[in-house]
């Protein structure tokens, strides 16, 4: 369970605004939040190391090692990495933060010579042992422990994983499975501007490939005629027979098309969707038989630029990935940094004292 970014921001503002100490802008908050999340996340590994050297108890909710593991569960994941046939290695996922267990299952490729081909996977995963170059050279020389199908090893160098013994190579196969910790996603308090210029929290999930809500898109070409005047909200699809379709691979998303004097005059984003990319062309197909109000002729096109994607706006929010139990820790640490920003030594000292007290209590 993640920590709601809006709850944290509001609490921070509440404390800061007490006695008119100062104010923290959303941008400052986002940057500090990311820093704080990283600090807390990094600390887990040291905590794990310390706690694994101490005897633990079996009482529910009191086993510190288990608690730390629970805090990390949000970041744990696994994937089947892509195989690079030319270099005989595997490419690690882009969101990998720390590599955990690597396992391997045998796969057989068959080709009956008559057009039928396929892969048959073993049902058993065998753990691969991670070795450094020194161990690798030693292990390769020993007949008793040299890498085999049952006792494989791997090198992790240059963001690539190389498995020994060399496994059968086929383009499609992904016979190793990585368990790893994901990078923490940066928290983001997204907003839209209110009527009087105030920041209003935008609860839409932030996605760099989403459109910007309510943005008016620029028409690059427009030859539409014969349409019925009005305002129509139309879904964006990938079917060229539909009234609005995209050349990209986006999903979801819709636009509000305004037709005046029988031609398209403006296109506004009605829902943000996902999977849009710079260069995608959104086409308003007036000739579509399903165009609301009746078909016309011609098309209007919009070529998406970086300014049309959510990453160019302040919209969209991302919660902290940290465990719920870290909420007060997050708030205190943000306040600590906020005290520095607003130059309030009292705020810094109070927050620091509280953070230290919590930490010493946790590690006693």
């Amino acid at each position: 369970m993640a920590i709601n970014v809006n709850t944290v921001y509001k609490t921070v503002l509440l404390v800061l605004n007490k006695e008119q100490r100062g104010y923290m802008t959303p941008d400052e908050f986002n940057k500090i939040s990311n820093q704080v999340q990283r600090e807390i996340f990094e600390r887990y590994f040291e905590d794990l190391n310390q706690q694994s050297r101490q005897p633990q108890n079996d009482i529910d909710y009191a086993d510190r090692l288990e608690l730390t593991e629970e805090k990390l569960q949000e970041f744990k994941t696994s994937s089947l990495p892509a195989y690079d046939k030319n270099n005989d290695n595997f490419t690690i996922p882009s969101d990998l933060y720390k590599l955990g267990n690597v396992s391997y299952r045998q796969v057989n490729y068959f080709n009956d010579g008559a057009g039928s081909t396929g892969f048959v996977y073993s049902t058993q995963y065998k753990e691969l042992q991670r070795v450094n170059r020194h161990d690798f050279n030693l292990i390769r020389r020993s007949k008793l422990v040299q890498p085999s199908k049952n006792y494989g090893i791997f090198l992790y160098e240059g963001d690539k994983i190389k498995v020994f013994p060399v496994i059968a190579t086929q383009d499609e196969q992904t016979p190793i499975e990585l368990d790893y910790l994901k990078k923490p996603i940066e928290p983001r308090w997204g907003y839209v501007l209110g009527g009087i210029g105030q920041f209003l929290y935008d609860a839409t999930t932030y996605n760099t490939s989403s459109l910007i809500l309510s943005q008016v898109l620029t028409l690059n070409t427009n030859t539409t005629t014969g349409l019925t005047d009005g305002t129509y909200t139309i879904n964006i699809t990938s079917d060229v027979a539909d009234p609005v379709f995209t050349s990209g691979s986006s999903t979801g998303g819709s636009v509000t098309v305004t037709v005046a004097s029988n031609t398209v005059t403006s296109v506004t984003v009605a829902s943000v969707g996902s999977g849009f990319a710079v260069g995608d062309t959104i086409t308003i197909n007036a000739a579509s038989a399903t165009f609301p109000g009746g078909a016309g002729t011609g098309t209007a096109t919009i070529v998406l630029t970086a300014n049309n994607l959510m990453s160019a706006s302040a919209q969209g929010s991302t919660d902290f990935m940290l465990h719920n139990s870290e909420q007060s820790e997050v708030i205190l640490n943000i306040l600590l940094y906020a005290g520095v920003i607003i130059r309030d030594p009292q705020a810094v000292q109070t927050a620091l004292a509280q953070v230290q007290k919590d930490e010493s209590n946790e590690k006693q």
Partner: protein, 386 residues
């Protein structure tokens, strides 16, 4: 979870059936025995013979016979686990596909429950002895593998029942090569017409030289143009031993017979038990990597029993369950004793545990049964008549 995964039919009869109700080409069986096909998916021969037969039982032909046997060349084993097979065309629908292991495959599987594989031992050890809150907090898998394999070797030499044997006929050359996985011999016997074994003992009367340098007139070994000693192709000693006549006095036992002073190697009175048999003799020829037999054994059937180290093949890499605990203790002791910072009292505790577990395993594997001992001990009061 129960450890037995095969059904009674799979174990005893080597059979498993699948009801076919749709067009399928692949089936996954669950035998403990990996299936081996003689052909691959493209129809190329990859092995001399399959270890199973596949029958397509239909209403018209409901019992396995040559009529509903699927040709061997049509079937291939495609899965890495050795249990997924593929037919080059879809199985008849509806039908019942019967997989019948061949007799030797069934026989090989009998008794497999009394063993545990080294891989399972390693996995169990890592689960039970390694981890947070345990004495061994962490260990490299390759370290455990090393100690397990070394343990396998040591156990094989003096504890496990990994005695292998070959039935051979002594050729006219009187030599047979050492088996591929030979470590040491246990016993060699020739077999008479009734199948009874007669132990052949090694002899100390002769031996096979390991080098045969060619000497000059002064007795100095001669060298070739590369500076290496010239070696003779044949050993004169071996030739003489091989060619000796069985009808003369040149029998091993004669060498110490006082009537022939020229042959007396030492003063001897009475019988020399090690030579008091007529079963023939053998020597180990280290130079040729073979066993040499005396010429009275030519063309005789022998059973040659020997020890391996348990690591020669994957099939060997298993230990009796009676020795499982001993193996865990061996690995634990080996890991702890080679690790930095482990208190000496902990190491010695594990040394004692290992010793006790090995002693237990030896006793168990000696297969001593009270009833059988009683039967043997009854012979102690038997009168020996002269």
């Amino acid at each position: 979870m129960a450890l037995i995964t095969e059904t009674n039919a799979q174990y005893y009869a080597g059979q498993q059936t699948f009801e076919i109700s749709s067009a399928v080409q692949q089936l996954t069986f669950s035998f403990d025995t990996p299936l081996v096909s003689a052909f691959d998916a493209a129809g190329n021969r990859i092995a001399p013979v399959s270890n199973f037969d596949l029958y397509e039982l239909t209403t018209a032909n409901p019992t396995p016979s040559a009529v509903n046997l699927i040709p061997e060349a049509q079937i291939s084993v495609i899965g890495p686990d050795g249990n997924t097979i593929r037919n080059s065309s879809a199985f008849a629908n509806p039908s019942t596909v019967l997989c019948q292991l061949k007799q030797y495959a069934i026989d090989n599987n009998y008794g497999s429950y009394s063993y545990i594989s080294v891989e399972d031992v390693i996995n169990n050890f890592l689960v039970g002895y390694v981890g947070e809150g345990k004495l061994i907090q962490g260990v490299k898998r390759s370290d455990v593998l090393f100690h397990a394999r070394r343990g396998m070797q040591e156990f094989s030499y003096d504890m496990l029942k990994v005695i292998k044997s070959q039935e051979l006929t002594i050729p006219p050359s009187l030599t047979t090569p050492l088996p591929q996985d030979y470590v040491n011999y246990v016993r060699c016997s020739w077999v008479d017409k009734s199948g009874a074994k007669h132990i052949i003992y090694p002899t100390r009367v002769t031996s096979d030289p390991t080098e045969l340098p060619i000497q000059d007139a002064d007795g100095i070994p001669t060298q070739d143009s590369f500076g290496e000693n010239l070696e003779a192709q044949q050993s004169i000693t071996e030739e003489r031993w091989k060619d000796r006549s069985l009808n003369t006095q040149w029998q091993p036992n004669d060498y110490r017979y006082p009537m022939y002073p020229q042959n007396v190697l030492g003063q001897r009175y009475g019988l020399e038990p090690e030579e008091a048999n007529i079963n023939g003799w053998f020597t180990i020829n280290e130079r040729l990597g073979s066993f040499s037999f005396s010429n009275d054994l030519a063309n005789k059937l022998i059973i040659f029993e020997y020890l391996s180290d348990g690591l020669a093949t994957d099939e060997d890499s298993k230990i009796p369950k009676f020795a499982e605990e001993a193996m865990y203790m061996h690995i634990a002791y080996a890991v702890l004793s080679t690790r930095f910072g482990i208190p000496e009292y902990v190491i010695s505790r594990y040394k004692r545990d290992r010793s006790a577990a090995m002693r237990n395993a030896k006793i168990r594997l000696n297969n001593i049964k009270t009833d059988e001992i009683v039967q043997v001990m009854r012979g102690k009061s038997k009168w020996i008549k002269s």
